[in-house]
């Protein structure tokens, strides 16, 4: 498919001079070794001359030659091959794909294809085939470790859960840090819609239940290529929306001239938790060594010490205590994923088509968790009249999830805490087989209010969603004159989502039962009209100018009903609820833009591009809603002008500057009162209006920006170099960039004594400076090829706030933990720290032997210092083995799960020193005030010692988030076409493989969990917090790909 895209370009750039003075004709067909299909547009040239011809749509060519000459077959992204003519009259050639050249042509902003050598900014391209090699059902997650400077974090191990992607560090202190997603010219929605419910303080969307972000709907099997526009210059034409970069996705198309190809692929995958906590297996539940069934912990007696006695278990039976070392492991099951995809494509000289269907069925690592996704795509282009082309694409995706687990806190259904608090004496099987008693009521884990049986939660309390999404585009392109093309791309992305969550009567924390349903509707309409002028002024000098207008509208609406107090058990009907709370929200944002893009090229090695765009946004005050921003970039292939050197095959310098403006969310300008549905009361359900027969309305919590609000701006400078040595055996691509976002529109937390919680203002600058290096090596290149790709990215993030603002809360967490910004620092994690003396020793309270604490201290930055990736690919004939390592260095993370395991006395480390005298390392005040002496005071008990690791003591649960991971590995075998043609002629290609993702956490500094989770999810600038998240998974599977 990529070939087709490139054909047009080849015709443009290739100088095919008149064929003359040859004495005979050679014909032949050029095919690709990768798929055995003919390649149109291959340059067939006589070595040492300018004589050449391209292959036609069927890969066929005819050329006049003389004996003794050599033909050179070259094609972008394939290794050039030379064949001596000799006396042959038919020369058929199979070209081998060259992965190191894949980024030669990329689709950039507004769907404009450009040669990478002409670009003055850094882009990265990922082929569709690379993301389906070891597939992740979420296409965002599949990018992890693939591109330098692109950081992907997973929200949880929930099916369909979110993945957040950040390019070159967070450019914003507010929620919006993710790049724009564009499919076939259409800007699509990638939100992770959150909704608050009456029965939970934690918004359902990412934090409570992870419903994922909507880029996860994109079907990897339909993707031809993804281009990652990293910097502002690359994305400048998209304006405001792409201030965090853009990911341009081109979907697969049929080939003109292909009578019809059917391709089929099937993957089966098995998922299991990547990391499970390490538990102690010596102590039962209780308090200070005394057994108590009311406790869900490990602070009871040593099991071996009480073998002569019996104790009540959760069923009320008196039993001898025994540890079940695998009880948590047994709780999780193997999740299964089946992805089956079929596509039919083809075309004639007038048009092309492709129809694809992919079915995904997943079951989770917790029982009852399920996801079913059906994706249908259609893409067709047609030449209606000479010079008038139309293309439409239409995609329908239906995603159904159920049994999604609750995370974080403040909800009866939170699963991970329940599971990780299971005493060691609890037999998971007994728990499952007896989750209800003879009367059908819950057999709770404890008689206390913290003891839901996890199987009761999973079997009865279901949370899920149905999302129906349609997106598509229509594109018209008319070539008015050879130098002027008018085109229009219109598209829409619409989805309806229905969410439902039920809590059965008898669930502790919600004994009277409840449920909610929500209908979400999201729509984007996007139109771009472009006029493209392209003219060679002289033979060496080309001008290309694009002028365009754009309109964009984003609309969201939600209706939700919360039902509390159910009469008939398990009947989730509003009429069965004692109270129903309806609520509705909607918002709309519009942006209009006009833009121009001028590209000058000289002799095909010097390229200057300048763009300008003016946006008008509905979200800013009408006096400040227009903003203009320019960009300029320069690409210079210097190897074209310096004397040729054998060792240096390609060299290019690039430089760019861009300025991008930014608007804000809707409705942040006017002061307006909100009708209230409910007021808050801690622990209780709160009260719904009407209350005592009257309604209520409330002043907003946020002071709006009023007419002072103006657009924020981002300035970005970038320098890059691209070098290829020794016939492309070594490739180096390096960038330095500096981005500064000024006048950020932020929601500044106010002291609440003002009567408000936030104020919308322009305040704060954020600078990101960094380098990105991609190094490619081909140490061995023969029938056996070894290809190494190394990626490295370092980013430094610095915040500057106005002097009157102490700090800015990026994301408030729980229990004294916040993600904040302070002048001169990077965005960091703040919370309670151990108190230390000047020498850095922890100060111990001599009264208790426990550590003293200080509040609101910086614990470290949340972003990594650098990330690195390494991909090794070994190929021998049709066999290919590839694996990717992914590393992160620096940054910190907080884990609530670790806190739970330690304070509960369940983590393996808590078994040490129990019953012994333990003196913590630190100092106590000396006799002279202000001096300290080494601590001599023992802790009263290890239970007391570990109680210091409660979530409120942030430092106790904060770790270095560095890790090294075996991100993916795959082994595939392409059955040689010779074998196929012998045994099954109708088959064009057959490939089988095994694949694995997230296979091995090689190094981590965080105990008990995978350090790579982010509770705040994709919709937030906050990172570095794990909060009872569902464990991430390791996947292993196999796949078959067949084309005929």
């Amino acid at each position: 498919m990529k070939k087709l895209l490139l054909v047009s370009l080849c015709f443009l750039v290739l100088c095919v001079t008149q064929v003359f003075a040859q004495n005979r004709t050679v014909t032949g067909t050029v095919i690709g070794t990768d798929d055995g299909l003919p390649i149109p547009g291959v340059t067939v040239k006589i070595k040492g001359s300018n004589v050449g011809t391209p292959t036609d749509v069927n890969g066929k060519y005819t050329i006049s030659v003389s004996d003794g000459q050599t033909l050179v077959f070259s094609y972008i992204a394939y290794n050039t091959q030379e064949v001596a003519v000799g006396t042959k009259s038919v020369i058929n050639v199979s070209l081998v794909q060259n992965t190191s050249q894949l980024s030669e042509v990329v689709v950039t902003a507004l769907g404009i294809s450009r040669e990478t050598k002409s670009l003055g900014y850094s882009v990265a391209s990922v082929k569709g085939s690379e993301i389906t090699k070891a597939r992740d059902p979420n296409i965002v997650q599949a990018l992890a470790g693939k591109v330098a400077g692109v950081n992907v974090t997973q929200s949880s191990g929930t099916l369909g859960g979110g993945s957040k992607i950040v390019i070159r560090g967070a450019t914003s202190l507010s929620a919006d840090v993710q790049p724009l997603f564009v499919i076939d010219g259409l800007i699509i929605d990638n939100s992770a819609q959150q909704l608050a419910t009456t029965n939970s303080a934690v918004p359902q969307g990412t934090a409570g239940v992870d419903f994922g972000n909507r880029a996860g709907d994109i079907n990897s099997d339909d993707v031809e290529s993804m281009t990652i526009l990293k910097g502002a210059a690359a994305a400048a034409l998209y304006g405001t929306l792409a201030k965090n970069g853009a990911i341009i996705i081109t979907t697969k198309r049929g080939k003109r001239g292909d009578a019809g190809t059917v391709s089929f692929s099937s993957s089966t995958r098995f998922d299991s938790p990547l990391v499970l906590p390490k538990f102690q297996n010596d102590y039962a539940q209780g308090n200070q060594g005394v057994y108590n069934i009311a406790n869900t912990n490990g602070w009871g007696p040593k099991i071996s010490d009480v073998q002569g006695q019996t104790f009540p278990n959760f069923l009320g039976q008196n039993v001898t205590l025994q540890a079940y070392p695998d009880n948590i492991k047994e709780f999780y099951k193997t999740g299964k994923t089946y992805i089956n995809s079929v596509a039919l494509s083809g075309g004639n000289e007038q048009g092309d088509y492709r129809f694809g269907y992919t079915n995904t069925i997943q079951t989770g690592i917790t029982e009852q968790q399920r996801l079913v996704k059906n994706a249908v795509s259609f893409n067709s282009g047609r030449t209606i009249l000479k010079n008038l082309n139309v293309r439409t694409s239409l995609n329908y995706v239906r995603t159904v999830t159920d049994g999604l687990p609750f995370q974080s806190s403040n909800n009866a259904n939170v699963l991970t805490t329940t599971v990780y608090s299971l005493p060691r004496t609890v037999d998971t099987k007994l728990l499952r087989d007896n989750y209800v008693n003879a009367l059908g009521q819950q057999n709770t884990l404890t008689p206390a209010r913290n003891g839901n049986n996890p199987y009761w939660l999973m079997y009865n309390n279901k949370t899920g969603a149905v999302n129906n999404r349609v997106y598509g585009t229509a594109n018209f392109s008319y070539k008015v004159t050879p130098w002027l093309t008018l085109s229009d791309n219109i598209g829409t992305d619409i989805y309806y989502e229905f969410r439902k969550s039920t809590t059965r009567n008898g669930t502790i924390g919600a004994l009277t039962g409840n449920f909610f349903t929500a209908n979400l509707y999201q729509r984007i309409i996007n139109n771009d009209f472009l006029a493209t002028f392209n003219k060679n002024v002289t033979e060496d000098f080309n001008i290309k100018f694009i002028a365009g207008t754009s309109i964009y509208e984003n609309y969201y609406q939600r209706e939700q009903i919360d039902a509390q107090g159910l009469t008939i058990d398990q009947l989730y009907n509003y009429a069965n609820a004692a109270a129903n709370t309806p609520s509705n929200v909607s918002n709309k944002r519009r942006i209009q833009g006009v833009y121009g893009d001028l590209t000058l090229s000289y002799k095909d090695y010097l390229f200057l591009q300048a763009t300008g765009r003016n946006d008008w946004s509905s979200t800013l005050p009408s006096n400040n809603n227009s903003y203009f921003y320019p960009s300029v970039s320069l690409g210079f292939e210097f190897t074209k002008v310096i004397p040729q050197m054998d060792w240096l095959s390609y060299g290019k310098l690039r430089a760019s500057y861009a300025n991008v403006g930014g608007d804000t969310d809707p409705y942040r300008v006017l002061f307006a009162y909100n009708p209230a549905t409910n007021v808050f009361a801690q622990y209780a359900a709160g009260v719904n209006f009407p209350f005592n027969g009257v309604l209520g309305a409330s002043t907003p919590a946020t002071i709006p920006g009023l007419s002072d609000l103006k657009s924020q701006t981002q300035n970005s400078t970038e320098f890059g170099i691209e070098l290829k040595f020794l016939n492309d055996r070594i490739t180096l691509d390096a960038d330095y960039y500096s981005n500064k976002t000024k006048d950020q529109i932020v929601s500044l937390a106010l002291p609440q004594s003002t009567g408000y919680a936030f104020k919308i203002i322009n305040a704060g600058d954020l600078t990101n400076k960094g380098v990105e290096v991609s190094l490619g090596l081909v140490p061995i290149k023969s029938q056996f090829t070894w290809d190494v790709q190394l990626r490295y990215a370092k980013n430094k993030n610095v915040v500057t706030l106005p002097s009157n603002i102490k700090q800015y809360t990026v994301q408030s967490g729980y229990s004294g933990l916040t993600v904040k910004a302070e002048s001169g620092q990077s965005i960091g994690l703040y919370g309670v720290k151990w108190d230390r003396d000047i020498a850095g020793n922890i100060i111990i309270d001599p009264a208790t032997g426990l550590r003293k604490t200080v509040t609101d201290k910086r614990l470290g930055q949340t972003a990594p210092d650098y990330t690195a990736g390494l991909t090794n690919t070994f190929s021998y004939k049709g066999l290919s083995l590839a694996f990717t390592l992914d590393a992160r260095k620096g940054g910190v993370m907080f884990s609530n799960t670790v806190s739970t395991l330690r304070t509960n006395g369940l983590g393996a480390e808590t078994a040490l020193n129990r019953g012994k005298v333990f003196i913590d390392k630190g100092v106590i005040p000396g006799t002279t005030p202000g001096t300290f002496v080494p601590n001599t005071v023992p802790v009263q008990s290890m239970q007391d010692y570990w109680s210091q690791y409660q979530a409120g003591n942030t430092e106790a649960n904060t770790f270095d988030a560095s890790f090294i991971k075996l991100r993916e590995a795959s082994l595939s075998y392409t059955i040689p076409s010779k074998v196929i043609s012998t045994y099954a002629k109708f088959i064009k290609g057959l490939q089988v493989g095994v694949e694995g993702r997230n296979l091995w956490l090689i190094h981590s500094n965080v105990p008990h969990i995978d350090p790579e989770v982010n509770f705040f999810g994709s919709g937030s600038a906050g990172e570095g917090v794990e909060f009872n998240s569902v464990p991430t998974t390791r996947s292993f599977g196999f796949n078959v790909r067949l084309t005929f």
Binding site: T198, N287, N292, A294, L385, R449, Y478, L486, D488, I490, G509, A510, L511, A579, N584, S586, R590, Q592, S618, L620, S622, P666, Y667, V669, L670, A672, Y673, N674, P675, F680, A681, Q682, Y683, A684, A685, F691, G693, V694, L695, G696, A697, S698, T699, A749, P751, Q752, S753, T754, G755, Y756, A757, K759, N804, T809, S815, G816, T818, A847, T855, G952
Partner: protein, 489 residues
Amino acid sequence: MKKKLLFTFSVLTLILSLPSCKKYLDINRNPNAATTLDPKLLFSYAVTSYVNLRPSGDLGMPMVLAGQTMADGYNNPTGFAGGVQTEGEYRFDPLIFGNPWRSYYTSVGNNLQQAIGLAEAATPKNVNVAARAKVLLALVYYELTTVYGDVPYAEAFKSNIPYPKFDSQQAVLNGVITTLDAALAQFDETSTIKIAAYDMFYKDDIAKWKKVAKSLKLRTYLLMYDKDPSVATKIGELMTAGGMVSSAADNMFVPFEDVQQKKNPKYDIGERYNGKQNFFFAIKWVTDFMNPMADPRLPKFYDIPAGQTDYIGIEQGTDGDDDVNPRVSTTLQSAAQPEVIYTYEDQLFYEAEIYARGIGVTQDVARANTLLKSAVKESCLFYKVDATTATTFSSGLPTYVAGASGPTSIVYNIHYQHWLDMFDRGLDAFTEWRRSGPAGSEVPALTLPVGAPSNGLFRRYEYPISNEINQNPNAPALIKYYEKMWFDL
């Protein structure tokens, strides 16, 4: 054909690309919010938030536990603690300190401020909504300062002052008086603007509002008196002028409803978490005082375990035994139980104290005895003891003589009776206890709960870190929960 296509294409493009810019972009008005409204809606929201905050897990429950009017039953699986240390043992989650601050200043206070602004800007002025909102605002200031000490007052609630300075407690309490005086001056009993049910306290009975406003002034001066005896004159003036709360019909309260999502939080948490069982146990400070007198309020306060005859309260931090120890009555803490702000017995207890101590009036112990008996009788009636028993019991109380000290003194008994009358109003009882005597001589003489850190008794909420301290450069340093505030000697 080609021309037709080109024409269609151009027209379509123009239509889609170039709509009228100004109108097209003029959509930044939230269709689900109102730029103006009747201030009664803000008033009702503020009141609802206020009466939900007071009994909630953020304020009422921590206060009854840390203030020791109820016990958490420590290791009892269905007690409030459930085996985990709670506010009863002085384990405070930072949210507990932060949420009331947020509610008082934003959902309650700021809505009252906005209601006052809208009511006073209306034509004609809606004076009674403004004045009622001021009485509530005075309660907000009073409770904020009794919970946290020095708090922003003069510069609070101003959208143009981003970092309000903190005022001394004395200044805040004087501000409470100023605010109540402003309300009293503004009330107009002849106004025809009615808000009916939107006045959840007195249903437009402005006379009752004026009475309670005066009583709240009295309570505020009494809080200040021991630190600033100069307010005695003001107390004397109020006593002379009268016109304060004078019968149970004047009580200030808002009822809850026995309807899902409209229930009193104290009842609701038992229903949601505990199979409708009450979480709270009787505490010995209450039962030990009431038992010897066979107080008829005991069966109204508590549900006694089957087979038990004695009301045996426990110490805070010790295990509640369901066979022995009573829990707080589910008849009392019912779904529809009103949230009470001020009662007639409060008024009588204060008046008894004023005469017993001779604050701004001539000391009159006989009158104090009479007032104390009336107060106890009103308290019995409030807790639904029948009238005959209430009269018999209260008139049978000892008559205290002047000059005695300690448990036989009239002042001690007034304080103790007033404190236990408020056992279900956590913050009010806690404030009453702190003002009942200098540190170490409060009534009753509480001791440190079992398992609590040895720093001293609970005396305040700490300033909230994330809601205020971190955001406000004018905020003072953190003050620990065991440190005293201005009025607390």
